[in-house]
């Protein structure tokens, strides 16, 4: 048994060129990346919404971001080029270094990792996407896929919440989502975060969600945001009669290896990078309160 030679190095990233970027807010940026090696681009298998990747700034370190664009799938002829997008907030060493990089510079990517949103199980159902702040990044891939295949699904409500107007991500693309028939985008900022010309809602996400009075019948709620938001959102959902099986979220724990070895992202027996990050509220209720 020649383990050593049979095992490729899972930690070695693919080299990616920064093809472009958009600044979502003063401290949030969306990068577009393309493979530098055409063989790697050809053999890339794509991803499913909800999966994540490890992004490397050489010299600074690695960070985990959700794969945020519509899933790329090879058309089989090798003619199309995969583009990977990630949205990140400048917070620590790696994200600060990443933020300072320009178009054409080289970063690393390995992935995709983790499980994915069960989008095919949502066919014909009404959907609500609820994203708090940068939490929208983890939902964007699924939202874009659903919008692209809108005829297969029921009504879609997208609830995008931010602390302030300036902190709202994906501002420029929301009108495009709204333009699709059967898609309603609701924007909200925390009280005090509004500006004079703000024309969206003012209120915390769970309250705004309750105000929408969306009946639970068969509807799927897909939510991602800070733990405190999810806590109150689940209370609102419970109050509104939603069953835990109807609610899907993602556990965004601190991760390092991405392959279930480093031990960092455990919630009880659940390794978030390997068994998650996508979980239903029902599954979350089975786990120890350690997230």
């Amino acid at each position: 048994m020649q383990l050593a030679e049979a095992v490729p190095n899972p930690y070695q990233p693919s080299l990616m060129r920064i093809d472009g970027y958009s600044d979502e807010t003063p401290d949030v940026r969306t990068l577009r990346l393309q493979f530098m090696d055409s063989d790697e681009a050809r053999s890339f298998g794509g991803w499913k919404p909800g999966q994540f990747g490890q992004f490397t700034v050489f010299g600074a370190g690695e960070s985990v971001f959700a794969l945020a664009n519509e899933p790329w799938r090879s058309n089989g002829d090798g003619g199309d080029v995969p583009t990977i997008e990630c949205t990140f907030r400048e917070v620590g060493k790696v994200t600060t270094a990443l933020r300072s990089m320009s178009q054409g510079q080289v970063v690393g990517f390995r992935g995709p990792y983790g499980n994915h949103f069960p989008i095919d199980d949502w066919k014909k159902k009404d959907l609500v996407f609820i994203g708090g702040g940068i939490g929208m990044a983890a939902l964007r891939s699924a939202m874009l896929e659903v919008i692209e295949r809108k005829s297969e699904f029921g009504d879609v409500v997208i609830l995008n919440g931010a602390r302030t107007v300036g902190d709202m991500v994906y501002k420029t693309e929301m009108p495009r989502w709204q333009a699709v028939e059967g898609v309603e985008v609701v924007r909200t900022v925390d009280p005090g975060g509004e500006t004079d010309d703000w024309d969206g809602e003012i209120g915390l996400l769970p309250n705004v969600f309750e105000g929408l009075e969306l009946a639970p019948d068969g509807r799927i709620v897909v939510a991602c945001g800070p733990p405190v938001m999810l806590h109150y959102l689940f209370l609102s959902l419970g109050k509104s009669g939603y069953e835990p099986e109807q609610v899907v979220t993602t556990l965004e724990n601190k991760m390092k290896c991405g392959i279930g070895h480093c031990g960092r992202c455990y919630v009880g027996p659940f390794s978030v990078c390997r068994d998650g990050p996508v979980v239903t509220w029902a599954e979350l209720n089975e786990l120890p309160k350690d997230y």
């Binding site: 048994m1 020649q2 383990l3 050593a4 095992v7 490729p8 190095n9 899972p10 930690y11 070695q12 990233p13 080299l15 490397t56 700034v57 050489f58 010299g59 600074a60 370190g61 690695e62 960070s63 907030r89 917070v91 620590g92 994200t95 054409g104 510079q105 080289v106 690393g108 800070p226 733990p227 965004e252 724990n253 601190k254 390092k256 290896c257 392959i259 279930g260 070895h261 480093c262 031990g263 960092r264 992202c265 455990y266 919630v267 009880g268 027996p269 390997r274 120890p288 309160k289 350690d290 997230y291």
Partner: protein, 354 residues
Amino acid sequence: MDRRSWTIDEAEMRHWLQALIDGEMIVVAPVEEDGVVLFRPITSAEQAVVEPSGKTRWSPKEFLFPRSEALYRYRFKGDRVQLEDPPPVGRPQILFGVRSCDSSGLARLDEIFLSGTKDPLYAARRESTTVVSVACSAADAECFCTAVGGSPVGEEGSDFQLVPINDGWMVRVVTDKGNDLVGDTADGWAAASADDLEQTEKIEKHVAEQIERNPVDSQWSKVLEGGFENEAWKRLAEHCLGCSVCAYVCPSCSCFDMNHEANAWCGEQCRSWDACTFAIFTHHASGHNPRSTPQKRYRQRVLHKFAFREDEDEPFRCVGCGRCVALCPAGLDIVDTVTAAVAAIREEGTDAAC
């Protein structure tokens, strides 16, 4: 495979060890260094401290899972980055004189690093490592292998085993890899008698009697999981300093950190030992920390050893070496903790705790 066994005296064992050292493989064995016994590569059989009992300060895990190692390397070439493989894993090695608890610890590491996506560096080292374990004829004060399902003469994780009997050794092959170690040397050895083999059972019983610890019951895992939020954890973990010596000396702890070590010209993705008892282990970039107190972190370490198992047959991830008990500066004792936690949870009832 032929489970061959022999009875040899101390001189024959040392002679064999010297032959192994003179061979192609690196031999790593316990040696005394500044009054502390540690695993080190050896160049002569006399250096090895292979006794009927007693253990090294650190487990031998660092010879499969180094404290720090490069996962890959890179060079900056103008605007470009050139990736390079990590340094190759060295010559094949023999870990000689590994206690049964520590060889079980290696089996626990295998479960992490060789499951799912295989770790190539660990896999390469494991492949080129042969483990010669040595059974214990006496327990140290901190030992509790028998309380967690282990045995002082356990063979798990080892390829060849030495059992101390009658001032000499009963030696036996456990795997094909172990069989390869004896070669022609064994031609001059006397085959072990049925009586010699029987002695192994006597040793096991004798050592088990020395270990005055109540066994950790397999069913406690579920109790611990049910009482996750029991108030007792605050009291039980109150003294934990978060120093993490327990995780570092543990033969089965496998958590690691990954960081880039780099300068203007080159760098590497570096993996280092880490521990769930450190404050920033689970600290999110947002500032949120699911395990925000030393108590929550200590609970995680204890439960990861004794709870969250898929079924009752799955071994505990604690192998009972007792190093964490002996070296904890706050005097915390993992078996006492588990026992007390289970008692507290049962007393209050799991419903009250949730």
